[in-house]
Subunit: 339 residues, 2 copies
């Protein structure tokens, strides 16, 4: 008990608890099982890759810790006591569980393995996911992407609450707990009914859309971005508030007004028979991937980010080309590009 006073400070905490301190190292359990299996200290030691004295000593220690005799040693045989037999079944379960843990950990050790819960905003999901899921599957065969579609605020909430691992959004989140990486920039396009007066123009001025622009319901970032691009603080009195981009497009097709749609949705929009035109001031949004700064599988997020960015690169290049061609056709050269 003199050791209690060896240190200057407080009495070590662990001395304040009861006398029962079953250290019960896991290693000892393996030794126990080995001896029970082989009924021979030497063979058991060999199977545990330790020397026989080590196993002898550790087993004796275990017996002293437990306060019971585990094996009856005899010059010709080593037999587990009945109590030991009872303990063995528990030990087997415990060791199996721990082996299962190790196996699980080993299989999960690769950050590019497992499930990645990926949030995505609704104005992006239906158009981006079909493009990138197959390449992701190919590039990261062991990574299962679990998409979750919701508006930005909800995604960020779930991200912060560890219900998502990453999210594809089109805004910069507040706070330092989340970090982002831009993936690609998506131009907005003017969407017009075929018989709209502006439909005759090759290129539409953002402000010209303001009078009859239709926007999404609250919560969609696209709503705010579209309004901002048109120079509006809020929707005009009679503006409709569509619940989804598909609805919005159908509204436009039906002649209720105009709108801005993100470039990736162009295909779907054109199918509905509306007219799409580039914007004069090249309003756009940047899609980013966001994750918690502390998220341990950063490598998985970055791999996903890389695949998406690569997959989207041709689209971005094509957009540039089309844009440039359009510019040249109008004889405006590069000046407008950087307005």
């Amino acid at each position: 008990m003199a050791s209690l006073l060896l240190r200057g400070g407080k009495v070590p905490l662990r001395c304040s608890i009861g006398p029962d301190d079953p250290a019960m190292n896991l290693r000892d359990l393996r030794y126990l099982l080995a001896v029970a299996e082989h009924r021979h200290f030497g063979k058991a030691a060999e199977s545990c890759r330790v020397s026989q004295p080590t196993l002898s000593v550790q087993l004796r220690k275990l017996e002293e810790e437990l306060g019971i005799v585990l094996f009856e040693r005899n010059s010709k045989q080593v037999v587990p006591t009945p109590i030991c037999e009872l303990l063995l079944s528990h030990a087997r379960v415990a060791v199996a569980e721990i082996d299962a843990m190790a196996a699980l950990a080993r299989s999960a050790m690769d950050p590019l393995r497992g499930t990645l819960r990926l949030g995505i905003i609704p104005t992006l999901g239906p158009y981006l996911l079909p493009l990138v899921l197959a390449p992701l599957q190919e590039a990261l065969p062991d990574l299962e992407i679990e998409p979750w579609e919701d508006v930005t605020a909800t995604l960020l909430e779930r991200l912060r609450g560890h219900e998502l691992d990453a999210a594809l959004i089109a805004t910069e989140p507040d706070g330092t707990d989340l970090v982002t990486r831009p993936l690609f920039t998506e131009p907005f396009l003017a969407a017009l009914p075929p018989d709209h007066p502006l439909a005759a123009q090759k290129r539409i001025g953002e402000d010209d859309l303001a009078p009859d622009v239709l926007v999404l319901a609250d919560g969609h970032c696209l709503r705010d971005q579209a309004l901002a691009a048109c120079g509006l603080a809020g929707p005009l009195g009679g503006s409709l508030r569509a619940a989804s981009l598909a609805t919005l497009i159908n509204m436009v097709a039906a002649g209720y007004g105009t709108t801005l749609i993100p470039g990736l949705a162009a295909g779907a929009a054109q199918d509905s028979g509306i007219v799409l035109r580039p914007l004069r001031q090249k309003a756009s949004r940047t899609v980013r991937i966001a994750w918690r700064a502390a998220f341990p599988r950063r490598a998985a997020v970055e791999a996903v980010a890389r695949v998406i960015a690569e997959r989207l690169a041709p689209y971005a290049a094509a957009a540039e080309r089309d844009d440039a061609a359009l510019d040249r056709a109008r004889g405006q050269g590069h000046l407008a590009r950087h307005a």
Copy 2:
């Protein structure tokens, strides 16, 4: 790797196995569970009775061992990763099993607790057990006696095979692996049909029984002891071989012959209406308790032995008294006592 060569002898064995050596101390699992439960290193450390740095370091070590991140540390919260959640359920089971082991061991630590498998020979069991089971139950309330009745050879075999913990026998077993302790000495009595010529004598000479002595079947030690007492090497031609002492007594009662019965069976014998007489040369057998020399619960065996010996002491004293009274009645004094 230089450490491989530090020692003179062989390369340490444990270096020859694979690189995966998940030490995975049980302590670490408790730390893991504590942090997962409290979601706070300080509180978890307190609940584990260790300092916070210790827990921090050990947990980091565990993470490195497993190759995965177990918790996402954040300035305001500590959240288990999804992989960790999977591991936790396994860890909980493992720790519970080990706690169960410790509890089992603790409850079994008292050698006077649990089950004692006690063999007993058939010529003793039916007469001794009713006398001693109640006192044993009272003296050793936590010890459950599990009696097993069989002939000596079988008992010893089962004892050596760890199927019995101790045995009550009336011979000295061979070999050094078993040890015995004498409990009491039981006189033999002559058992005669009431109309037998010898029935008139107060005391019977052992040799006089030889002509028509009946004995038990092979394997019963009483058979050999009875024959020896009567000076016979084997049974006479017409001798019956009864399967049990009760049968033997009934044989005698029916007039088929005489026999020797052990003192404790006197009560049962008298009920069947036969005549019992003390023997002139005081043939007797000593009942012993036998157990494996290496049996760890020697204390339990000795406690049982003590209780039985004490319980039998009055009988032995009474036998001595009766004997002495008989001697005095015959005017032989003490001389015959030590013949």
